[in-house]
Amino acid sequence: MDFLATLFTDFGAQILSTVTAAFAIAAIGLNLHFGYTGLLNIGQAGFMLLGAYGFAITIRFGGPFWLGVLVAIVAAVIFALILGLPTLKLRGYYLAIVTIAAAEILRIVGGNQSLGPVTGGVAGIGNQVYSPAFTALSPFPQDGSFSLGPYTYPLTVGDSWYLRIVSWIVLALVAVLVLLLMRSPWGRTIRGIREDEDAVRSLGKNVYLYKMQALILGGVIGALGGMLFVLGTSVQPDSLGRSTTFLLYTIVLLGGAATVFGPVLGAVLYFMVIIGLQDVVGQFVPPEIMSQQQVPQFGYIVVGIGLMLLVIFRPQGILGNKKELSFGD
């Protein structure tokens, strides 16, 4: 009984957390690419990292908060243009290769020691560098904490209620934006592109331009997710690598590609599975079989196999519509 109480408390804490919201946001961006437009972007973590760097570095060098946000967004736009210009006219595979390559370049270059004074190298940038700019804007008192049931967090500083509330508001705004977009002619066009590019082209629409817009928008959303993610943790290039992108795919496909709330549901469920796994292993599995350090590895194995099974047996995920399958060739 104790165990169940802990488990459910942990679930609640994880669902509320900024990390969940940040991943849900990045997944919504990816969903715009992959789910709605059919773009195989396998470098979404690169957009997240770029957003994180853009934001953190601007503030590190004395820029104000909003300039940091602006830099993050502009960086994502430029990144999307660089990725999209050479590839969006080619078969989908090329976008895939170029996005994964570019995201890795970003991670490797960012982690390079010679850039230490700017990016902090592999160790990255601690959030004490940029968090104050964010907490300064808090409407809550700078000190003090607040309890809601079993959950007690500081009001403003650190891992706070303030950060949680902002994260979920951003998530809600992004979700509403996508919802409205998908009901607009623009949304119908990009879905048309996913279904049959040539048909859309024959209607006289510039498919290339639409794809580029989708790539940019999804990338910017990814950068926002990256910013929120590092507000809760710290900027570390290796924490936003390929595995993160693959995780985002699992989240999107689990919740349901080409649905507005699929990525949110997927993110929540994913983190519940991981927390559950960790609590169960900690409680019931002897360390000779699996130590606590191995739980994350095991988690990734589960994610990988889960992704395979999802694609094969339930490509529409939980919320998706079988007819709206996001897979073309």
Binding site: T6, D10, V122, S239, S243, I274, Q294, I301, M308, D329
Partner: protein
Amino acid sequence: MLVAALGVLSGLLLPALPAQASSSPTPSASSSAAAGDSSAIRATATCAQTDTTACVAGTLRDADTNPVRGATVTLAAGGTPVATKTSAEGTFSFTVTAAGRYTLSLDESTLPEGLTPGNGTERTITARLGALSPAGFALEGAQQGGETDPEATPQGDTSAFGRFWNQVSLGLLLGLLLALGAIGLSLVYGTTGLSNFAHAEQVTLGGFLGYVFAVQLGVPFVLAGVIVIVLCALTGTVQDRLIWQPLRRRGLGLTQLMVVTIGLQLALQYVYQFIFGGGVRPVSRTIQANTGPLNITPNAYIAMAISVVVLIGVGLLLQRTRIGRATRAVADNRPLAAASGIDVDRIIRLVWTIAAGLAGLAGLLYALVYGGIAWNTGAELLLLLFPAVTLGGFGTAFGALVGSLVIGLVTQLSSLVLTAQLRYASALLILIVVLIFRPQGILGRRSRVG
């Protein structure tokens, strides 16, 4: 609890380069008190943690991932520090009897010439009883010399041309090893249209199986090599039988299949880490000096020779034999090949088998030449394999060879001007440039694209 959850999460989201895999201490959110009794520290030859001891161990590597020997590493927890020197494989290990926080430090003056600590010389390590705490230091620069280092220039030949030539020979070596992996990737794509993101995990498999047979079980290397290649080839056969053929039958789209390979890649990579841990596993313990015109180890010459012979063999197989003609026909046009009486399923099964076998060979040779294999070696190599294959044009074996050589040379030569870490980046940059100007690759035909 939430803090712990986030700690686990950040650990979870921490994939790393091989250079850092064993060297970045796992961040831990649970802060326990510093261990007080330094007499509990012993420098040990290997890690033997029991229920009552913990182990702090790591491998010191330079930016080219070559082991650094003879450097002094010290572990302390308040009291007298205990020092040890890194072994010929670059490893060091301490056994401690108390859990808690320790300070690990590196004596910079004992590092070989040309190496500098990349990120400070002190680490705080949290040891847990019964567990191994990986630790280490990121080092900048490559070693100038050293017998265990197949890539090093001997002292005295540091002229501009000497360094250039050295990188050329390393580029050829890397290119030939890459080609063994790239041809399989290219053939699978050519015959089935699938971009297999899990292909490089077959390379890792070859290395690890080599470790299991040649080192752990002590099978003579050549025999172990044969066993490894056969086993790897079989994994290709079985994989096609159990996964890819049924999925082709189900009519899964190529994009879907590609996402399936992404999932497989992720799962396999962490299965390796789960089984073999984060360290680098050798396939041979022999230490060799560099010789000859290319200034590489004898093993590296042998690896190059094997690679050349195998590549010519595969080329002849494709060009001259009936099976080869059938394979090219399947790559050209699957329904038409079937209408000509070719058993398309059998050819594809064969291609998977050959691809996995060659990848296994690549992994074995890679581990032999570069001192070992790590759980994420394949994942890193994939970043070179895709550019190589794209450069040479997908679906052509000869193209894969040419593309691999280009990528091998570019990555190695770029470290003349860039720091070694950035050489992957240079390969990827080339890929992007090629895609802009010649999306069908250097040798590929335009019709293959679009």
